[in-house]
Structures are given as structure tokens and as C-alpha cells.
Symmetry: C2
Subunit: 190 residues, 2 copies
């Protein structure tokens, strides 16, 4: 299997290894050589598939945005309530933390990558759906508020800035936060 010269699906294996490595020590401590060793290939193999380190992280981020979009769309379809979508956002940040830690760091990835941008737009759209539709004009304040609230909560949570009571049950805390702002339920109730 792994001792073949042609790996079979090395790209897939490298992304998995990268996600695992990020989960262990964070994205800034990521070493291409360690990832290569984890996948059982030589130290320069990743460059062949991803160009450079940022290329690998770009693939990770794109995959993360795709997964997040799936999660948010499912939450919306199931409940039709923004607070539930936001809670799913928070849960994603916890459960898929390695992805989350890469997705919003433009300095670590190739921010202009088409796949990445496409996937990011998908998850942004999924979140907006839960907070009112966009007016044709400048921007939609409710959508910005929804995204900011969910994202800020998730970031502060995984960065360890919240008290223990919140860490114990983050989703419950976020539902309380969602209620405090009255963002999702006043227009879509019925």
C-alpha cells in the first residue's frame, strides 16, 4: 500500500495529515516535512501537489468551507431558525477545529484561489439565509450581525477567552446569546 512509488491518492492523504497536524499544534507550527513523513512520502512530495505550504493550507481551508456550508445548510433545512444555524457554526468550530483555525487566516493561504473563494461564498450564503434576505443595496445589516455574532462567539470560544460556564456547554450559551439579540426569530416565526 504505502510503500508503492505511486501513492494512489497522495493529495487526499496529505490533506488528512495536514488537518491532523494542525489539530495537534496549530497552523503556524505546521511543518510540510512532518506532514510528508506522516503520509509516508519524501519531504518534497507536498510541493508537487500543492505548490507550496500555503497551497496545502488553501486546500484544507477550501475543504473546511465546503464542510461548513454543508453543516449550515443542513441546520437551516432542519430548523429554519437562525439561532440553530449559529449554534451549528459554533459546533463546527469546536468539532472541526483544525479546519476552522485555517479558514479565516488569509496570510496562511492563497486567498485568491478560486476553489477557496467558491467554498467560502457558499458558507457565507448559507449563514445569510438564516438571517433575512439581502436587499439589493449596500449590505444587509442583519446578515452581517448574524455572521459576526456566530463567528465572534466561535473565535473567542476556541481562543479560550470565555469563562468556564460557557465552555461547559457552548451551544446552550450561544442559544442564550442568540435570544439576547433577537436576531433570527422575529421575522421568520410562524
Amino acid at each position: 500500500m504505502t510503500d508503492r512509488y505511486h501513492h494512489g491518492d497522495l493529495r487526499r492523504a496529505l490533506i488528512d495529515a495536514a488537518v491532523e497536524a494542525v489539530g495537534e499544534a496549530g497552523p503556524s507550527a505546521l511543518s510540510l516535512r512532518a506532514v510528508a513523513k506522516k503520509a509516508g512520502v519524501s519531504h518534497a512530495a507536498p510541493a508537487h501537489h500543492f505548490g507550496d505550504k500555503a497551497g496545502l493550507l488553501t486546500a484544507v481551508a477550501a475543504e473546511g468551507f465546503g464542510r461548513l456550508a454543508d453543516t449550515l445548510e443542513a441546520a437551516w433545512d432542519a430548523t429554519g431558525d437562525f439561532t440553530a444555524v449559529g449554534a451549528a457554526y459554533v459546533r463546527f468550530a469546536i468539532d472541526r477545529r483544525p479546519y476552522f483555525e485555517v479558514m479565516f487566516r488569509p496570510e496562511l493561504v492563497h486567498a485568491d484561489d478560486p476553489d477557496l473563494q467558491r467554498a467560502a461564498s457558499r458558507s457565507a450564503a448559507a449563514l445569510h439565509r438564516g438571517s433575512g434576505e439581502s436587499d439589493g443595496g449596500e449590505f444587509n445589516a442583519a446578515a452581517l450581525a448574524a455572521w459576526s455574532l456566530a463567528h465572534g462567539f466561535a473565535e473567542l470560544l476556541v481562543a479560550g477567552n470565555f469563562p468556564q460556564a460557557v465552555k461547559n456547554d457552548p451551544e446552550a450559551a450561544f442559544r442564550a446569546v442568540g435570544r439576547a439579540t433577537g436576531l433570527g426569530s422575529d421575522h421568520s416565526s410562524g
Copy 2:
């Protein structure tokens, strides 16, 4: 001046150089050797004052939290309105972006540093002041909401995830967001 063996206030100079370097290429691209060169000292000088790279970034983060706390307290004293405090938070993320990029990255700093924790608590308290007082119990949903909203907006903004209309006048956009949530301004609007 700089050609003396004893620098005078090298610690100060190194922090300034680090902030400048972070502003140019982000915290993950920061090089201790480049910082040392910028300050006109040898490559190992920073280690003497800060122990290691994380130590230097810890000092930057602590200073950033101190500055942020000052900013938020001033905004609250001047207006008594949460939306204004949140807007000050957003403005800080823009104006002092190098600090902001380090402050919420526990993997880059010594998160258990006492100075850092003290400064972080100060700014958290300043932000809470603008969103209602803490109940003695578990946590305060309004305070969490306020912090999450301001922080998420700031993060998404500096990460480039917002449309151009928002980037053009971020503070105005945030005020709209603050109004959409009705967090602090329903009593003081005029």
C-alpha cells in the same frame, strides 16, 4: 545611540520592531532575526529579553490588550453607549491591526503570562461595561453577545470576508449591525 553596546531600552525597541514586522507580513511570518536586525542588534538579543519568540509576541499582545482597554474605556466614558464601544473595538482592529492579529492567537503566545491575562481581563471588562452588568450566576448573555458581535465583525473585516460596501466605512456598517441587534442603543438613541 544605536551603536552602543548597551542599547538603553532594547526591550521597547524590539516590541516596536515586532509590531512593525507583524504589520508588514503577519504574525506567522515574523522572524526574530529580522526583528533584531530592525532594532540594530544581534540575532540572539531578543531571546535575552523575552526568552523565546512566543515571549516577544506575548509582550506585544499584552501591550495590545492594554491599549484596547484604554480605547474602550474612553469610548464608554464619552458616549455611554454600547454601539459606540463596539465601533471603537472595530476601529482598534483596523488602526492597530498588528496588535489585533496577535492578541487572540493563544498558540503564538504564552497564554498563561500574568501580564497578558491581566491586560486581557481589563479589556473584556471594559467591553462588558457597555452591555449591562454581570448577573452573579453563570454568565451574562448580553455581555457575551456584545463581545462576540464586535469581535466577530472585526475579525471578519480584517480577514477580508466582508463586501466592499462594508470595507468602505466599517464603523458605519457596525453601527447598523449594532442597531439590528438592539444590544445597547435602545435607550440612548437620539
